[in-house]
């Protein structure tokens, strides 16, 4: 028998769904505020990168209810983390104009 690979969505409490949604909405509003602010491009890129990681964490933890202890979500998480990490690093590199070597 294959046991559940993540905590079933049905097991969550409605309050946690509301909280997750409220946090995501707040983070998205913060993204919009950062993007339209007059801060430097570097500061905005850093803040947006952090907010994106926070949003992804909320979706994975509160909405998808993934657990690192289980194999299938771990596979998906590894793929997501590597790809997003590469993209963020490459674009931070573009913004900060860092050149190695």
């Amino acid at each position: 028998m294959i046991t559940g690979v993540h905590q079933p969505l049905a097991a969550g409490r409605p309050r946690s769904a509301w909280a997750g949604f409220a946090v995501l909405a707040a983070l998205t509003a913060a993204e919009l505020a950062v993007a339209t602010s007059s801060a430097s491009a570097r500061a905005r890129a850093t803040a947006l990168g952090g907010l994106l990681i926070a949003k992804a964490g909320v979706v994975l933890g509160a909405c998808l209810r993934v657990s690192w202890r289980r194999a299938s979500p771990r596979l998906a998480l590894a793929a997501l983390a590597i790809a997003t990490g590469f993209a963020v690093v490459l674009m931070l590199e573009a913004v900060f104009q860092v050149r190695l070597g």
Partner: protein, 191 residues
Amino acid sequence: MSSTVPPVPVAAPAASSGVGNAGMWIFLATDAMGFGGLFMAYGVLRTRAAAWPGARAHLALAPAAVMTFALLVSAFTVAQAARAAKPGARRGWLAATAVLGLIFLGGEGAEYRRLASGADPVRLGLDLFGATFYALTGYHGLHVAAGLACLIAGFVGKTRARTIEVVALYWQFVDLAWMPIFTFFYLWPAR
């Protein structure tokens, strides 16, 4: 002579849901690699490009923000659909999710039309910005359309709660995949 028959192991009721969830997670893992490849291509192309247009040069932020909030709300409504005990309530939450998904797709279609017909059109084969934008948003849009079909099937047919739970898992992933697209294309500052 009396013989005792060993009890036959019976699958727990949650087994079917577990199998469905496991299958969906394996699919999502492969799908995440697809998105990951596109994101990496976008990152490399943007980094290596001599110049890259700012987000506001072509794209409209306000409609994209509305689309993003529609998708966020739909992630909440689909979670409620998966939790709903009564079929009527489940259908209601599924319908709400489908409407929000349609709003998102409609917004995306309107954005494509505006980009293609503007004074400074953005087309697939015109430049790297257009190519990566259409590839990523189009790939994501296909996922939304597929999820929408599943939601409508769940609304119309007599879909079990377990199936809705698996669909909800997929929809949450689609919501997750939109987040970097929104950030990188609509919000990220130009060089």
